[in-house]
């Protein structure tokens, strides 16, 4: 598959960015055709971290397969698990207790915050500023601590089960989350001072990597990438799940479609997530945290599809059941794959530095793309 790279008929320079490269955030391999510093073509080569998760899921029970998906988009593992749990629940036709729904939304938003914080630091690093990374990790660490107390793990939490969540909340949960929200709010100005307002940063991101609304739709972009181009695609708003329908929050939309718009969308989403947490944290209803389900789950014969909004966009979980203990076929529609496919379109004609910046604002998580 990999042809003789390095030579080109037109006398262009072909360089391999990755699979080991500081700015691909994993094992993405880009074959970039350059004319001097200008990017002529970007060709992503995938498969370096393919673990065949979809196939693995077919041999696992409906309770088990959820946790394999934590390893897909490891930065929003809660939300992956939630999407799978939703699909199974659709088949089981169970009613989820109110408390479980609220806990799920709270956890999803904390995950989204953690993911966006990591993105903020990593993207700044792609553009050459190293300090924001450490500042972002200071806040992210607080979320990880909350996760560790509640779920027992920091990254792959495995907290969702079909019918609710695995354990009840930690007694300190509300206090810790409130502390975090207050602390993070106070740091937002610092984020803006350090990066958003910086002249160099704005020069590097404005009018760079532009994607139009039409192109964003035809490439299948979702999440902040599409919303930055003005495509309204927030699953939480359009197809509300759990308690999202009852909450007050805005879908952050921008028109420009450039790197800076994608940046602003994610910054805006962090504020919206904080506001969602504010609305819920004092109103966690009492009651069961898990609906009663059978020990061995069997989905009736049929097809089940559910979508959730991860930190990167729309995650679709498609289950075909033959009525047995394990799914017959599972397919994930991961947001990263579609967003990556638009990279060539965005980066053509820009400089190498911009290619890296665009990749940063796409917020790629390679295990999510390769699965």
């Amino acid at each position: 598959m990999i042809e003789e790279v390095g030579t080109s008929t037109d006398g262009d320079l072909i360089i391999n960015i990755g699979p080991q490269h500081p700015s691909t955030h994993g094992v993405l391999h880009l074959v970039v055709t350059l004319n001097g510093e200008t990017v002529k073509k970007v060709e992503p080569h995938l498969g370096y971290i393919h673990r065949s998760i979809e196939k693995m899921c077919e041999s696992l029970s409906y309770r088990q397969f959820i946790y394999v998906t934590s390893r897909m988009d490891y930065l929003s593992s809660h939300i992956n698990n939630l999407g799978c749990a939703h699909a199974v629940e659709k088949g089981l036709q169970v009613e989820i207790p109110e408390r479980a729904q609220v806990i799920r939304v709270l956890m999803s938003e904390l995950t989204r915050l953690a993911s966006h914080q990591l993105w903020w630091g990593a993207m700044a690093m792609d553009i050459g500023a190293i300090t924001p990374f450490f500042h972002a990790f200071r806040e992210r660490e607080m979320i990880n601590d909350i996760m560790e107390e509640t779920c027992g793990a920091r990254l792959t939490m495995n907290y969702m089960v079909p019918g609710g969540v695995m354990y009840d909340l930690h007694p300190d949960f509300q206090k810790k989350v409130k502390e975090f929200v207050q602390f993070f709010r106070s740091k937002f100005d610092e984020y803006d001072e350090l990066l958003t307002g910086n002249v160099i940063f704005q020069a590097r991101t404005k009018n760079v990597g532009i994607i139009s609304k039409e192109d964003a739709i035809s490439y299948g972009c979702t999440g902040p990438v599409a919303r930055a181009a003005g495509v309204s695609c927030d699953v939480r708003k359009l197809f509300p799940y759990d308690v999202y329908g009852k909450l007050q929050f805005d879908e952050v939309l921008m028109e420009a479609g450039d790197s800076f718009a994608r940046y602003q969308v994610r910054m805006g989403e962090m504020r919206q997530s904080l506001s969602i947490i504010d609305q819920l944290i004092d109103n966690i209803p009492e009651g069961e945290f898990q609906a009663k389900t059978k020990a061995v789950l069997k989905l009736p014969k049929g097809e089940y599809y559910s979508i959730v909004e991860t930190a990167r966009g729309e995650l679709g979980v498609y289950i075909i059941s033959e009525g047995g203990m394990t799914p017959y076929r599972i397919k994930f529609r991961s947001p990263g794959f579609s967003n990556l496919s638009a990279l060539d379109h965005m980066a053509r004609g820009s400089k190498i530095g911009d290619l890296v910046a665009i990749m940063g604002t796409l917020d790629l998580v390679i295990p999510d793309i390769d699965r």
Binding site: P22, E37, M125, G128, A129, H135, K351, I352, G353
Partner: protein, 358 residues
């Protein structure tokens, strides 16, 4: 008071009293060589440690704190590791140029040590065209970088080297013009005379706004010339992995690394000499009591203090700014800095002719 001047003086007297003239000069050369090389090494160690500590405190970290007292021996340990490491030469590399490049960069940095006045009367070579010499020699480093990039047989290296070439050649103009502004004011190219002309006040205070503008442009230009962030195009870690020194390992890499820090030191030392009065103490007008106390601080401390202050500013840049893009970098130079510094030189000339400066 024991000053460096008296030490060097007594060494000279001792040598000439005990040895025939020719050998005395030879021994002096050797001593100066040893001094430069050891200064080179010590500066490297100190500046790397300083950079790591500065970055750590900006990034809410502690930084190196295990090896030696409060981590001070960390750089020593790192150097030891680099010395012991195998220096690989990639297949297809131009071996001669590949091995030569780090030395070209380092020798360029060492030659620049010569005209710098470290303290009162402590200067290796007080050449009468000091400023010209500095501008000329500082361009040698780019040859080494281009050599390294070309000889590595690596596309990342080549891109880094090409960027670096374009960058250093352009920013030299602004750096040169801002130095010329001071030369116009002081009326001399000799560094010792430039310092002497600041006896009654540093040029940054005496030269009105143009001197301030020249100073700011100088700092920006030397940051670019030494390939430091936000102008670290040649390395551009997130784009070109390590730029021109991607293929270097072991001691050859260490030489590049060392040369970078020594170049920063030299650039800041020149900045301190031209704009901040070099080793001259800080005086406030005719407040004799204050001036007297300031005079008691040794001149070498004044020089080092000013230099390290400027180094800190350059480190501050690196740890707070994102990187510019190559075309933006060249735009900044050719569209903004160069015209501004040309006009600045013109204004400075008028000021100098009319004698408006203090």
């Amino acid at each position: 008071m024991l000053s460096i001047e008296s030490i060097t003086g007594s060494i000279q007297d001792f040598l000439f009293a005990n040895l025939p003239g020719f050998f005395a000069v030879l021994v002096q050369f050797a001593l100066v060589g040893i001094f430069v090389i050891s200064l080179f090494a010590v500066l490297g160690l100190v500046l790397v440690f300083m950079e790591r500590k500065v970055s750590a405190y900006m990034q809410i970290r502690v930084g190196p704190n295990r090896v030696g007292f409060k981590g001070t021996a960390q750089t020593l340990a790192d150097t030891l590791k680099l010395v012991l490491k195998e220096g690989l030469t990639p297949i297809g590399a131009d071996k001669f140029l590949f091995n030569l490049a780090p030395f070209v960069v380092m020798i360029g940095a060492m030659l620049l040590m010569a005209p710098i006045p470290f303290a009162r009367n402590v200067q290796i070579w007080d050449v009468n065209i000091g400023v010209l010499y500095i501008s000329a020699i500082s361009s040698i480093a780019v040859i080494g970088i281009l050599m390294a990039g070309w000889a590595s047989n690596n596309k990342y290296s080549l891109l880094g080297a090409m960027r670096s070439g374009a960058q250093i050649v352009s920013y030299e103009l602004s750096a040169g013009l801002s130095i010329i502004a001071i030369v116009i004011l002081s009326g001399s190219l000799q560094l010792s005379e430039i310092i002497a002309s600041q006896e009654n006040g540093w040029w940054i205070f005496k030269g009105h706004v143009p001197a301030l503008i020249a100073f700011v442009i100088f700092i920006i230009a030397v940051t670019a010339e030494t390939n430091r962030a936000p102008f670290d195009m040649a390395e551009a870690e997130s784009e070109l992995t390590a730029g021109f020194h991607t293929e270097y390992s072991g001691m050859r890499f260490a030489l590049f690394f060392l040369a970078e820090y020594v170049n920063i030191f030299i650039a800041c030392a020149i900045g301190a000499t031209l704009f901040l009065g070099g080793w001259l103490p800080f005086h406030i007008g005719s407040w004799t009591a204050f001036n007297h106390i300031m005079d008691y601080i040794p001149s070498s401390i004044w020089f080092m203090g000013k230099t390290f202050f400027l180094i800190f500013i350059i480190m501050w840049f690196r740890w707070t700014f994102p990187r510019l893009r190559i075309d933006q970098l060249l735009n900044l130079e050719w569209k903004y800095l160069l015209p501004i510094s040309l006009i600045n030189v013109l204004i400075m000339t008028i000021i100098a002719i009319l004698g408006w400066h203090f």
